[in-house]
């Protein structure tokens, strides 16, 4: 038959707990690994990656590829704000990643769709520039 059982295991609970703790922050596979190792509850790489894939399929997590040499980022999708759209801004100097979500920014996708015939995938779109902190430091 269609063997689609899903087991609830300790490892999966730990991984989800880490995501909950991080809220809407981005998390890398390695951060999960390290955190669990430091808490004396190590989980293997394969398990993390496999479960990350599964969570992504289920729509509970989004996957981003922002910079290379660092690995992909994963972000937990809260049940309640599942459709919350937002963009990322990455500072080219300090490398920090910011989230922006406001009415103007959230209207961009609609505008671009209406006027430019293009459907934006905000999860893959990153604004590059320089953040305020770095700008002030540079003076």
């Amino acid at each position: 038959m269609a063997g689609n059982k899903e087991y609830r295991t300790k490892q999966r609970e730990l991984i989800e707990a880490f995501f909950q703790k991080k809220g809407e922050q981005h998390v890398t596979a390695d951060e999960i690994l390290q955190f669990l190792k430091n808490n004396d509850t190590p989980v293997s790489k394969s398990t993390v990656y496999r479960y990350l894939d599964k969570l992504q399929e289920l729509g509970k997590v989004r996957k981003y590829t922002i910079e290379e040499g660092v690995g992909s980022c994963y972000q937990y999708v809260e049940e309640n704000h599942s459709c919350k759209e937002h963009y990322h801004m990455k500072c080219l100097q300090c490398g920090k990643l910011y989230h922006i979500s406001c009415s103007l920014m959230n209207g961009i996708a609609e505008h671009v769709y209406q006027k430019h015939d293009f459907v934006i995938d905000s999860s893959k779109t990153v604004f590059y520039g320089v953040c305020g902190d770095c700008r002030r430091e540079n003076v």
Copy 2:
């Protein structure tokens, strides 16, 4: 002294020729490797990656990370169209690159600066999504 010599070699000419041929399409390191190998003018991986880095530094090529398992994409920057004042939209399906410039889009940078304390570098920012042509084809 400031030993900043730049040699013009056969390998570099071949790589640039490939970019020229591809126009504004995106290209992966592997595509360059394969194309040159099929043309009986193989070039080593190291050379491709090293020259790609150099081209990027010189601003002749832009580097994007779109999907993984595929590697990074590189796009040739035509000398004449300096794409400074507007944004790019890249279709994730056909790889085509579109330019958008309109009052609303051009106001984004100002808004983000005023409200989010971040200076956008529009030349490095790319909107990812699906273009109208591909969307209609998918139906």
